[in-house]
């Protein structure tokens, strides 16, 4: 795989819906009400239901594994949640190669809301074959 520092990997656009948040809550087993109960979410100062941080992490995981395919292995994956995201708006996932050391490759990954704010930022470390 030909790689260079600064190289961007293909964008992944997700379109999360409230239905998806309910599906995710069930699949993960995270029933915190801020992800499906509008009244509850507002009562704790949120604009409404918000995406699970770990759902956004899953989106960024997909970004990396889609790009990597069977050409290597994901070794580490780190995400910080910097802002909230609400369903009904596209969530754009991006990544860029930041370091290459033999077969070890580091990527900066992030998810953007429609205003271009990076509400999730992270680092993925992969080992390419």
């Amino acid at each position: 795989m030909k790689l260079h520092v600064g190289q961007e990997i293909p964008e992944l656009i997700k379109d999360p819906t409230t239905r998806q948040l309910v599906q995710y809550a069930g699949a993960q087993g995270d029933f915190y009400e801020i992800h499906y109960d509008q009244e509850y979410a507002k009562s704790v100062g949120l604009p409404g239901v918000i995406l699970h941080g770990l759902l956004k992490a899953a989106f960024l995981g997909q970004l990396v594994t889609d790009w990597l395919g069977d050409r290597g292995t994901l070794k580490a994956f780190e995400v910080s949640y910097r802002g909230i995201d609400v369903p009904g708006r596209p969530y754009r996932c991006h990544g860029k190669v930041t370091k290459i050391d033999g077969g070890d490759v580091e990527l900066e990954v992030w998810g953007e809301d429609p205003a271009g704010k990076r509400t999730t930022v992270g680092v993925a470390t992969v080992q390419v074959d």
Binding site: K14, Q23, V44, F77
Partner: protein
């Protein structure tokens, strides 16, 4: 309502102490529902679990109820996954978690309480497959 200092005192006693182990089978149907929920149709996930699936196998954070007398809500601050071996469908994964740190920070809307925890995941052959580190914020 307690202060962050009181919450920290409660949680400090838990630092480094392993919580109870939990063991779960990586079931094909559970993985399928998980990948449907995240919207990732990669056929690889019919054999293997996707990167964040581990969080669906066991509760990722412990003792959080000890902190719920402070603040009104939780935020997830971040997660770090370290992968040591693949997690395959049919594997039996044991998770063991612990609190590793607790501290407070002044935020725009008052004090916030940070709880750092980690979970180790081991398969049926005793091989460690992953470690998860997470930050939960109470505000």
């Amino acid at each position: 309502m307690i202060t962050t200092a009181e919450a920290i005192d409660r949680l400090k006693t838990r630092i480094g102490v392993d919580g109870p182990e939990s063991t779960a089978l990586v079931e094909a149907g559970h993985v399928r529902r998980f990948v449907e929920a995240i919207g990732d149709p990669n056929p690889r996930w019919t054999r293997e679990a996707p990167p964040t699936f581990l969080v669906a196998l066991a509760p990722v954070s412990l003792h959080l109820s000890d902190a719920e007398d402070f603040g009104k809500g939780w935020l997830n601050g971040g997660n770090r996954f370290e992968y040591l071996a693949p997690v395959l469908i049919g594997d039996e994964i044991t998770a063991k978690g612990r609190v590793v740190d607790v501290y407070d920070k002044a935020g725009a809307s008052g004090n916030m309480l940070f709880i750092i925890f980690e979970t180790d995941y081991t398969n049926q052959r005793g091989e460690r497959v992953a470690r998860l580190r997470g930050t939960m914020i109470r505000r």
